[in-house]
């Protein structure tokens, strides 16, 4: 995949939507494209993370290991960003990401990602916004789960 098409794709990603084109080029250039076959793992829960991924093509499952077995918490598609929590907070990967179809992803190394966040406030704001959205989503899920646990919730 060429830089030009990567940039076009990046522009469609909400995280990078508000970033001016020259910055986008920088991000694309410092990143690398990686391909995964179906069933291969982008990152594994519990391992140290050294990169974030932007899905360029294909689909991937995000799953979390629980006592009852792995359960899928999200299905990623083109344009989704994954893996940024582990490099922002320096914690091990919080979930496992598995390619469901052949996947092509842009791999942004940890140091490059942190540099971007640090140097370009617009990137930082976007990352924050993304995390906040996810948090509110998680909060909603939590409420739903509590309701379920209390037996008040209705069927899905």
């Amino acid at each position: 995949m060429l830089l030009k098409s990567e940039i076009d794709l990046l522009r469609a990603v909400p995280l990078f939507a508000g970033i001016e084109p020259s910055r986008l080029k920088l991000i694309a250039y410092t990143a690398e494209t990686v391909m995964y076959r179906e069933g291969q793992v982008l990152c594994r829960q519990g391992e140290q993370g050294d990169a974030a991924f932007v899905l360029m093509d294909g689909e991937a499952d995000v799953s979390i290991a629980a006592e009852t077995g792995d359960f899928v918490v999200a299905r990623l598609k083109t344009g989704d960003v994954v893996g940024e929590i582990s490099i922002l907070c320096d914690v091990p990967r919080t979930a496992t990401v598995t390619a469901k179809t052949p996947v092509s992803a842009l791999r942004v190394r940890k140091d490059a990602f942190l540099q971007l966040v640090r140097q370009f406030p617009e990137v930082a704001a976007e990352v924050m916004r993304g995390l906040a959205e996810r948090l509110s989503h998680t909060n909603a899920e939590l409420v739903r789960a509590r309701d379920l646990a209390a037996g008040k919730g209705g069927a899905r």
Binding site: Y29, T30, T33, Y36, D111, L116, Q119
Partner: protein, 904 residues
């Protein structure tokens, strides 16, 4: 009778003791040469007074060279004529005498030549002997001594300070004898010619001989301090090198500079003082020497004018005198040399003579297999103290049964480590003893504990050698397999070793004691090495050295073929496993996407440093190929596009922005340069011709480094790729001299010596676009190695890895593993390990500890006793017995010793 290696107090006695017969031979040769020397003095006078100035009647002849031996009275007197002589006329006599003079000059010269060569050899042998003796003494220093000496000072003493002593050996006796006899001959000759002139000369000589050495005493003092300061300087420099980490981390480099500068200043002052005195003394000496000719010219001239002396005699006296100052001067110089050497020798001797030197017999060469130390080890009342007499280990008594494994635990300095050191005789006990089956350790010569005990500790020093040599070091006691050598070289090697009192064992023989390692010979040793390395978990790391390191200059027979067949097999395996997407083989007829444009152009690789020496784009054969293939412009345009993109992306980042490190194709400093070049090109190319060519090369350089999948600028189309592949032909018939050593071509049917074994087998690039490619390729490679039997070669190459000075090319943990493996390899009866793995994490330590304990079965030493000072006391459960030490005292003495647990 003094021991053979005694260092006598006087350097004269030392030289005499070891070179007596050579010195006597020298005397003999000198005695023969003296009459000849006298003749060269006498002949000029005869020539001047005879044929040149003498009164000759026409046709008068003289008899020359008649020679007869007078008979003593008891044989009836008279003489026996040996040679009747030659009847010659005036011209004939002149010719005969002149040629005789020439003859004697030549013979005299030959004698001198022989004597100086002989002296040189004698001196060199003496030097070898002295250095050997000093090295020998270092090897025999008592252990405590090493805490006080600095290695570099010792090295400076043995290497530099001995040098003049060696030179002196040749001239200690012969020089004064020769010079004295020459001076006396000259003096005697002068006296013969004229008594009074002789007397004058003798008086001045006497004054010189008495006065000059007196004035030189101060020189001796200065020379001594010069030597001491220089020695300390080398010690300090050694410390700076060793302590560079502390210097850098504390910013004390300027403190060191000042300290060393101060030292150098002191040395300069001493040296300057020394030279001042030396030249002053020389000045006086010369002045005195010149007094004599002054008297000769004045007095002798007067005598000639008044007719009391004939001119021939005066010329001869002056000629003889001309020869007098030279030997005299040399004699005085010799005396200076003597004093200097004596003082140097005395100072060296001081450092190497001590009463508690290990006896030479203890370290004597022994070809016998030492007795096994199989019985019980009894430590009774063992006490260890430091230099100041503080107790490090209070009297300790314990027994170690054969085959027992004992863990010594306790805090560092608790005492266990001193017990460990005493068990292998690294410290001299202050009391008590260690006995093996009734024989005390103290009474054993080195070859018993040295071969039957094994030891490893943290921080053992490893000199620079290969991994193989480092491992087998513990097996090299005597040459086990001696190669029969004969011929002159071998005879002279042995003869020289004998003449210098050196050990005559040959370092080139095979010293490895295979039996001790439990193998039959060199063929089976590598397996054993792999085994011990596997026990300490170092084997795969060593193999990696072999895989990633540069190929050696010389490959063993068949290895090249093995590599090539592994290359084919690797390719086949990729296809079989469906992994061919992950890899891109080099192919002459195809563009390799994961290689750079330049690598594709030459179909090879470039030395990473080559571009800095001279830009590759600027090298004649590259230029020629570019022009010939029409790529010159295309690559220029491509480079320009790269530059435009990179300048656009990175151009507005500040110079210290870490993201700039990601540019990869150009360095951050280059961004501005390329921006300027772009501007020049966008303007008019014609104006600034001097930049034109340079800019062109710079843009081409960018294009050379371009790898499409990595940089993703979409600059390579099929046509361009094809053109680049076609241009390969320009380099196919060998490289021009401008690329030799900078570029290495791929050869599908050969091995690239500049590349690692791994690259040679892969012969292509990993398609890094696939995340799993790297891991998968490694697996396939490992399988290929095993299958093709190349793993042995890889391991062998790894064993040849140079560990670097002080093993600095190995991590601390690798060094510790290596010394532990070395101790295991010799399969000792008692293995003493003193926190041998402290650089490793606890989990690895435990794993390796267990493996070492278990390895006794595999190595065939079930009855090996192991004493292990542990860093982690919780690992003691792996052992039969645990003894803890605290503050130098054993905590649970012998309580459980009565019932040692069975070895499971």
């Amino acid at each position: 009778m003094k021991p053979a290696d005694e260092l006598d107090e006087s350097v004269f006695r030392y030289v005499w003791r070891f070179t007596r017969s050579q010195q006597l031979w020298l005397f003999g040769v000198l005695a023969v040469s003296l009459p000849l020397y006298y003749l060269t003095l006498d002949l000029p006078k005869r020539i001047v007074n005879g044929p040149i100035q003498g009164e000759w009647a026409a046709g008068e002849t003289q008899t020359l060279f008649d020679f007869s031996i007078p008979l003593p009275g008891f044989l009836g007197g008279g003489e026996i004529d040996v040679f009747d002589g030659l009847e010659l006329d005036r011209l004939g006599v002149l010719m005969a005498l002149s040629f005789a003079f020439l003859f004697f000059v030549i013979v005299n010269g030959l004698f001198k030549f022989y004597i100086s060569t002989y002296k040189g050899k004698l001196g060199e042998r003496l030097l070898r002997r002295l250095r050997y003796q000093l090295v020998d003494r270092v090897l025999r220093f008592p252990s405590g001594r090493f805490k006080q000496v600095r290695g570099s000072e010792i090295a400076s003493m043995i290497k530099d300070e001995t040098e003049p002593v060696g030179g002196f050996g040749g001239s200690a006796f012969a020089d004064p004898a020769l010079l004295m006899s020459q001076a006396l001959t000259a003096l005697f000759f002068i006296v013969l010619q004229n008594f009074w002139l002789g007397l004058v000369a003798a008086t001045i000589v006497l004054v010189q001989i008495v006065m000059i050495p007196r004035m030189r005493r101060r020189l001796v003092v200065l020379a001594r301090s010069r030597q001491l300061t220089a020695r300390i300087l080398s010690g300090r420099i050694g410390e700076v090198v060793e302590g560079i980490a502390s210097i850098r981390t504390n910013d004390t480099s300027n403190y060191e500079r000042a300290e060393l500068g101060e030292r150098l200043g002191r040395i300069l002052k001493i040296r300057y003082d020394f030279y001042q005195w030396k030249f002053f003394v020389n000045f006086l000496n010369n002045l005195l020497a010149q007094m004599t000719p002054f008297i000769f010219y004045l007095g002798g001239g007067y005598l000639v004018i008044t007719g009391k002396l004939d001119i021939g005699q005066l010329v001869a006296v002056i000629a003889a005198y001309k020869d007098l100052p030279a030997p005299l001067k040399e004699l005085i110089a010799w005396d200076q040399y003597r004093v200097d050497v004596q003082s140097k020798y005395a100072q060296i001797r001081e450092q190497f003579v001590m009463s508690d030197l290990v006896a030479a017999d203890t370290q004597k060469v022994s070809f016998d297999a030492p007795p096994r130390l199989e019985g019980e080890v009894l430590v009774s009342g063992l006490k260890v103290s430091d230099d100041a007499g503080n107790e490090l280990l209070y009297p300790t008594t314990l027994r170690l049964s054969p085959g027992e494994t004992v863990a010594l635990v306790g805090p560092p300095g608790g005492g266990g480590e001193y017990l460990a050191e005493a068990l292998v005789r690294l410290v001299q006990p202050a009391g008590g003893r260690v006995a093996f089956a009734g024989t005390t350790l103290d009474s054993m010569p080195d070859f018993i504990p040295g071969r039957r005990l094994g030891y490893s500790a943290s921080g053992l020093f490893l000199p620079q050698m290969s991994v193989r040599d480092a491992l087998t070091y513990g097996l090299k006691h005597v040459p086990m397999r001696r190669e029969e050598r004969s011929g002159r070289a071998e005879a002279s090697r042995l003869e020289e070793a004998r003449l210098s009192g050196n050990l005559d064992l040959d370092i080139r023989d095979d010293w490895i004691d295979y039996e001790a390692a439990g193998v039959t010979g060199p063929e089976t040793l590598p397996t054993r090495l792999a085994e011990v390395l596997a026990i300490v978990e170092l084997r795969s790391e060593i193999a990696r050295f072999g895989l990633r390191g540069k190929l050696p200059e010389v490959l063993a027979d068949g290895v090249s073929d093995q590599i090539l067949s592994a290359r084919a097999r690797f390719r086949q395996r990729l296809i079989e496993g469906g992994d061919e997407d992950y890899f891109e083989s080099f192919d002459r007829s195809r563009y390799s996407d994961y290689a750079s444009v330049f690598e594709n152009l030459v179909f090879g690789t470039a030395d990473p440093d080559a571009d800095a020496d001279q830009p590759l784009a600027d090298r004649p054969s590259v230029k020629a190929a570019l022009v010939a293939s029409g790529l010159d412009d295309k690559l220029f345009v491509m480079g320009r596009q790269i530059a435009e993109t990179l300048v656009e992306i990175f151009g507005d980042l500040s110079a210290d922005n870490p993201l700039l490190d990601d540019i990869d194709l150009m360095s951050p400093e280059d961004v501005e340069r390329y921006r300027a070049a772009l501007r020049r090109i966008d303007g008019e190319g014609k104006r600034e011709d001097k930049y034109k060519d340079r800019d062109r090369r710079a843009f081409q350089r960018l294009a050379f480094g371009y790898v499409e999948p990595r940089h993703r600028l979409g600059l390579l189309d099929a046509g361009l790729k094809q053109a680049i592949v076609a241009a390969r032909d320009h380099f196919a018939d060998g490289l021009g001299p401008d690329l030799a050593g900078a570029v290495f071509l791929h050869d599908p049917a050969g091995v690239n010596r500049a590349a690692s074994l791994q690259d040679n087998i892969l012969f292509g690039r990993i398609v890094t676009r696939y995340a799993e490619a790297q891991g998968r390729i490694n697996t396939v490679l490992a399988e290929t190695l095993r299958e093709t039997g190349l793993y042995e070669v890889v391991f062998d190459l790894g064993l040849s890895f140079d560990i670097g000075s002080g093993a600095k090319r190995l991590a601390a943990s690798q060094q510790q593993k290596l010394t532990l493996a070395r101790a295991l390899l010799k399969r000792p009866d008692l293995l003493v390990l003193n926190r041998p793995l402290s650089a490793l994490d606890g989990e690895s330590q435990r794993r390796i500890t267990a493996a070492v304990l278990k390895s006794r079965q595999d190595l065939g030493v079930e009855r090996q006793t192991i004493v292990w000072v542990l860093s982690h006391s919780e690992h003691a459960d792996l052992f039969d017995r645990r003894i803890s030490f605290r503050e130098g005292r054993m905590q649970d003495p012998e309580s459980r010793a009565a019932t040692p647990m069975e070895v499971s």
